[in-house]
């Protein structure tokens, strides 16, 4: 049996948009999504975020227009026959340059977005090659945690089951802790995977807030396969315990909860019992009867269950 390593994961560098991860080397024009200081291809400290490069390109194209205006103004001044013409040429040139600068400033943001879009299309293969190189760097790390951290950065842009599976395998080689910055929904695969199911089971114990709709749907879809795993029933009970967090989840996955309510620990069952009892008007299906049955069998004389009274407001925990 593999021994899990106790290494702390560093929090990811979060960006609002995936493309904000991308940087390009000014020197060799290779792309990267990792946070390295020097370009891994040419070794120079010339990496710039793609937004900065697009801004430079936008400014460059606008600057050449401005230079043309300046040139035309100078020619008209040089060839002016009288002082009056010189004044008219200079005044026109200055006025038009000011007008142009005002319009340019307003158009800059749209120009940057157009340059970025052009850059993505033009450099698509180069970006893909850079990301593959990033993955190779991540895979070559000795330390599983560092390898996962780098892969996580690349996975923001490259989204496929292969990279997700690698991330899950790396995470499963580590001792997971509540204070780690973990993720689940971006790692969900299209098909059933026992490693992913185990990972979900671990998260149900340490970070149940990460278990949301897509995970419940995944677990329900592959319920039989998970149930057939060595600790599959524990995983399913853990996920059921996570569903009890919110009344909405209990309602949406009532059938799944009815099947696994019996394995819930007391605190999770108490929460489920409270939600079902205090909302008798909602349609709980088989869950209502199952909760009542478990209550009568196991908790009828438990003092914690005696205080539950019908009420409308349930706060999520």
């Amino acid at each position: 049996m593999n021994k899990k390593k106790n290494i702390l994961l560093r929090p990811p560098v979060k960006t609002k948009y995936a493309y904000e991860k991308l940087r390009c080397c000014k020197n060799c024009h290779n792309y990267t999504a990792l946070g390295e200081e020097k370009c891994t291809v040419c070794g120079k400290s010339a990496l710039l975020p793609v937004q900065d490069l697009a801004r430079r390109a936008a400014k460059r194209s606008l600057r050449s227009d401005l230079l043309l205006i300046l040139l035309l103004t100078l020619i008209s001044i040089v060839f002016s026959p009288t002082f009056q013409f010189i004044a008219i040429s200079a005044a026109s040139g200055i006025a038009l340059m000011i007008l142009f600068l005002v319009v340019r400033r307003k158009a800059l943001e749209s120009r940057i977005s157009i340059e970025l879009s052009k850059m993505f299309v033009r450099d698509r293969d180069r970006i893909a090659a850079g990301l593959v190189r990033n993955l190779e760097i991540a895979a070559a790390q000795d330390n599983e945690a560092r390898s996962y951290e780098l892969m996580r950065e690349v996975a923001v842009i490259i989204r496929n089951d292969h990279i997700r599976k690698l991330q899950i395998l790396l995470l499963q080689s580590l001792v997971l802790r509540k204070d780690m910055d973990l993720e689940l929904e971006p790692l969900l695969l299209e098909h059933f995977d026992p490693e992913l199911a185990s990972y979900i089971g671990e998260l149900a114990k340490i970070k149940r807030e990460l278990i949301k709709d897509r995970t419940f749907q995944y677990v329900i879809k592959y319920e039989q396969q998970i149930s057939a795993m060595e600790h599959g029933d524990d995983i399913l009970a853990g996920v059921a315990g996570a569903a009890v967090r919110m009344k909405r989840y209990v309602q949406a996955y009532a059938g799944f909860l009815a099947r696994h309510a019996r394995k819930l620990p007391k605190d999770r069952f108490l929460r489920l019992f409270r939600i079902v009892t205090e909302n008798p008007g909602l349609n709980w299906g088989a869950l209502q009867a199952e909760t009542a049955r478990i209550y009568e069998e196991k908790y009828q004389w438990d003092a914690d269950f005696q205080q539950i009274k019908p009420r409308s407001n349930i706060h999520d925990v």
């Binding site: 205006i69 035309l72 038009l96 307003k106 158009a107 943001e109 977005s113 157009i114 842009i157």
Partner: protein
């Protein structure tokens, strides 16, 4: 003559370019669209993030 020509060109150029920039200002590509474009180009498919 050269001055007249240059001034005409100057005005024409500045006006045409200003109109073009003004129109382009409305064609801004939203960051969400840029993001989707990049992901689509790299992954060849659009998936729920």
């Amino acid at each position: 003559m050269v001055t007249y020509g240059c001034l005409t060109l100057l005005f024409l150029f500045a006006i045409v370019k200003s109109v073009l920039y003004y129109k382009r200002r409305e064609q801004i590509i939203a960051p969400e669209e840029l993001d989707a474009q990049l992901l689509q180009l790299i992954n060849h498919e659009e998936r729920v993030p």
